[in-house]
């Protein structure tokens, strides 16, 4: 997956997600600001990551830490103004999307990369039948006739297992259940067989049973089409099941990246460890939960030094002053904590 050479100790170097031209998507040092009346909020503050074809990268973090804004910047659908990309590169299939014309980006969006949103009801057009909305994709991007488009729409609905697809193609979004609407949105994202899908909390509003159906479908289609998938979520359970790698965000930055197994076994950042300790487990009748104390900071006033220090149980004076870089901490792993080594040693000792 990644081209990192292990070893070399705790050098604050290039992040282990380092540029790999072979990867489908390469985001380098992305910066996004929101200019509001109250000041400038840096929602994304130097974020780098990559996704290969067929790979699933999960992005984790509490609400407000910049997950959705990162996704919107990659898709080119940032709310602007007040949002502005103020730096970085987004290389997709070798080309920097930030240097592309608006028209060029529109052509990429939908056809080569597509997004699945949390709230399907507001993402779908309420006054068009789902068959029309799906069919439109083929008419606009592929020059299909109305008849062909309709046939394609029904085929897609069947693909995402909408029962009686032919009869239901004329129904409107509100006539479907939450889980079905989410599947229709997946169908829409898949319509043109994109190379990359970004799913922003695709199952957060759904019951566990429906969530399981939707995730299974998504995983199956992904491996079939060998798409890259960015899965944004705050649910550590969902991620464990489907992701290859995880990036944990805090206050606009990536604070840890790791292959999924390593991250759960031995997190290298106190924030990740705190999130894992916060969740009650289905398979354990636990004692008191080890909650991460406090709240994430306002992005208008990010604390100096390590932005996690007011909530960090391991914080020391150096953390108040020096911002930790993203250290390379192992094969394909990085952590933005001065004391990552202690943390890992501690976990190995347990």
């Amino acid at each position: 997956m990644t081209q990192t050479q292990a070893g070399g100790g705790p050098a604050p170097g290039p992040d282990p997600d380092g540029a790999d031209p072979a990867r489908l998507l390469e985001v380098r040092d992305l910066r996004v600001e929101f200019r509001t009346r109250d000041g400038v909020a840096t929602a994304v503050d130097g974020v780098s990551f990559g996704v290969a074809a067929g790979e699933t990268l999960a992005v984790l973090g509490e609400s407000g830490c910049g997950k959705s804004v990162t996704a919107q910047a990659v898709m080119g659908i940032l709310d602007s103004p007040p949002g502005h990309v103020t730096g970085g590169e987004i290389r997709f299939g070798g080309r920097d999307l930030l240097r592309m014309s608006a028209e060029g980006r529109r052509a990429v969006r939908g056809a080569r990369m597509a997004m699945i949103f949390q709230d399907a009801l507001s993402a779908l057009n309420p006054v068009l039948s789902v068959g029309q909305q799906l069919g439109e994709m083929f008419q606009v991007h592929r020059g299909a006739s109305r008849k062909e488009a309709r046939a394609k729409a029904v085929e897609l609905m069947e693909r995402v297992r909408i029962p009686a697809a032919r009869e239901r193609a004329g129904d409107y979004p509100h006539q479907f259940s939450g889980g079905m609407r989410q599947r229709i949105m997946i169908a829409m994202a898949l319509a043109l067989e994109p190379e990359l899908i970004i799913a922003d909390e695709p199952t957060t509003a759904l019951d566990v049973t429906v969530q399981a159906q939707v995730m299974e479908l998504l995983a199956e289609l992904q491996s079939e089409y060998r798409m890259g998938l960015i899965l944004i979520t705050h649910d550590l359970g969902v991620v464990a099941d489907v992701a290859d790698r995880i990036a944990v965000m805090y206050a606009g930055r990536i604070v840890e990246t790791a292959p999924v197994g390593d991250l759960y076994r031995a997190p290298a950042h106190p924030y990740t460890r705190g999130l894992l300790d916060s969740i009650p487990r289905l398979d354990q009748k636990g004692q008191q939960l080890d909650a991460v104390k406090g709240l994430p900071p306002s992005l208008l006033r990010v604390p100096p030094g390590c932005s996690f220090h007011p909530r960090c149980p391991l914080a020391r004076p150096v953390c108040h002053a020096d911002e930790p870089p993203l250290y390379e901490v192992g094969q394909g792993r990085s952590s933005a904590c001065h004391f990552w080594k202690e943390l890992l040693d501690d976990e190995c000792a347990e």
Partner: protein
């Protein structure tokens, strides 16, 4: 944008653990009175029998005709013991919130009884009803919409005193409110702020403070942590557990997150389409479920452990929940059940301890971690509404 009050309060509250500060006599702990009797041995403070709530479906604008009914709750019975937490789980629309509204007398049932310390609440009115209502308080799901945006925190938390001035006489109110904020880990200096100035977790604390104002014995919490991030969710769950011990509260805790429910509950009821389909202790339900619906629900929960998934039985339910206006005949789960046969369409399975589920009648198993999995041990001896109730191996990973 997020102008939530400083870290201070949240951080203080997060340290939940032990007792916060000195509470005055008004909110002194009640545990002293009940001692530490094991929860199973305590008296049932609430006894709900055959509870039904049908919402009429009408047609016609001028002359309304009833054309049917949404059977939101359709014959639900359970007990709540003093100091315990009863968790209620189930998919969206199965009737959880309706049960909450009935138990807190926010709505009147179509039929059935709700006995609070022996007295049927559904038959009370006037002062007697008011007195019972005081003892059963509700905490709502959505901290963003359940608080009046134009009222200060002090007014919100103190509002119940308007209806029950006997709890805190006029001169006492300010102090009582500040004390309540302190109890839930909010800075009492925040009394004059408005809800939008708080984060989701802090708003949920405000809702809990308000729920505690009248010193109720029972709190019905409808999805109290569902809208919160995991870290803040853990803070609020810890707070609720601390308050329970401190004030000997009994909780009905409604949620669709099965992991949170396991964590906080002593006993659990699983609902499907207006009915309880399985009830038992936390370990009976999570380690020895016998109803296919419970098994499917549990198997669908993702576990935050990449290794655990291997070898775990996964049951992905097909289809959606049928409409509660027109539930299937016989067993309501049969349209999605992999074990359904013609008997299930004909005969409705009652909620009872399955025949032949391990141990003789007299052996009264302690539940808990009975004999090994797979064998229908004592732990399977808890009520399940399925004709073919039996354990299934490895639903929850070890």
């Amino acid at each position: 944008m997020t102008s939530a009050p400083s870290e201070g309060a949240a951080a203080r509250a997060a340290g939940a653990g032990g007792a916060t500060g000195a509470h005055t006599a008004a909110y002194e702990s009640r545990t002293a009175l009940t001692g530490t009797a094991p929860r199973e041995a305590r008296e049932a403070i609430l006894d709900v029998r055959d509870l039904v709530k049908h919402y009429p479906l009408t047609q016609g604008v001028v002359i309304k005709r009833q054309v049917g009914a949404v059977k939101a709750v359709d014959g639900v019975s359970f007990e709540l013991r003093r100091g315990e937490t009863l968790g209620i789980v189930g998919e969206s629309g199965c009737g959880k919130s309706t049960v909450a509204k009935l138990v807190t007398s926010l709505e009147a049932p179509t039929s059935g009884s709700i006995r609070f310390k022996g007295e049927d609440v559904t038959r009370l009115s006037g002062r007697a009803l008011k007195a019972v209502r005081r003892n059963i308080q509700m905490v709502f799901q959505d901290p963003y919409t359940s608080l009046n945006p134009r009222m200060t925190v002090g007014d919100i938390v103190g509002e119940p005193f308007d209806i029950h001035p006997e709890v805190a006489p006029k001169g006492e109110r300010r102090r009582a409110v500040r004390e309540l904020l302190d109890v839930v880990g909010l800075d009492p200096e925040y009394v004059n702020r408005y809800p939008h100035q708080f984060s989701g977790g802090q708003r949920q604390r405000i809702g809990i403070a308000r729920g505690l104002a009248l010193r109720p014995e029972i709190i019905v919490a409808d999805e109290p942590v569902s809208a919160l991030d995991v870290s803040v969710q853990a803070q609020v769950v810890n707070l609720m557990e601390r308050l329970q011990d401190e004030f000997d509260l009994s909780y009905i805790f409604i949620a669709h997150d099965l992991s949170v429910v396991r964590h906080i509950s002593d006993r659990v009821g699983v609902m499907y389409l207006g009915k309880l389909v399985e009830t038992g202790t936390e370990s009976e339900i999570y380690e020895h479920p016998t109803h296919p619906y419970t098994q499917a629900l549990l198997s669908a929960v993702p576990v935050p452990d990449p290794g655990a998934e291997a070898g775990r039985a996964r049951i992905v339910l097909e289809g959606d929940v049928p409409s509660p206006a027109n539930p299937p005949s016989g067993c309501r789960f049969r349209t999605r059940c992999w074990k359904a046969d013609e008997r299930c369409a004909r005969e409705e399975p009652p909620l009872r301890i399955p025949d032949g589920a391990g141990g003789g009648a007299g052996s009264g198993g302690e539940g808990a971690d009975g004999p090994g999995r797979g064998t229908a041990g004592n732990a399977a001896r808890h009520p399940s509404a399925c004709h073919y109730a039996e354990e299934k191996a490895r639903i929850v990973p070890d």
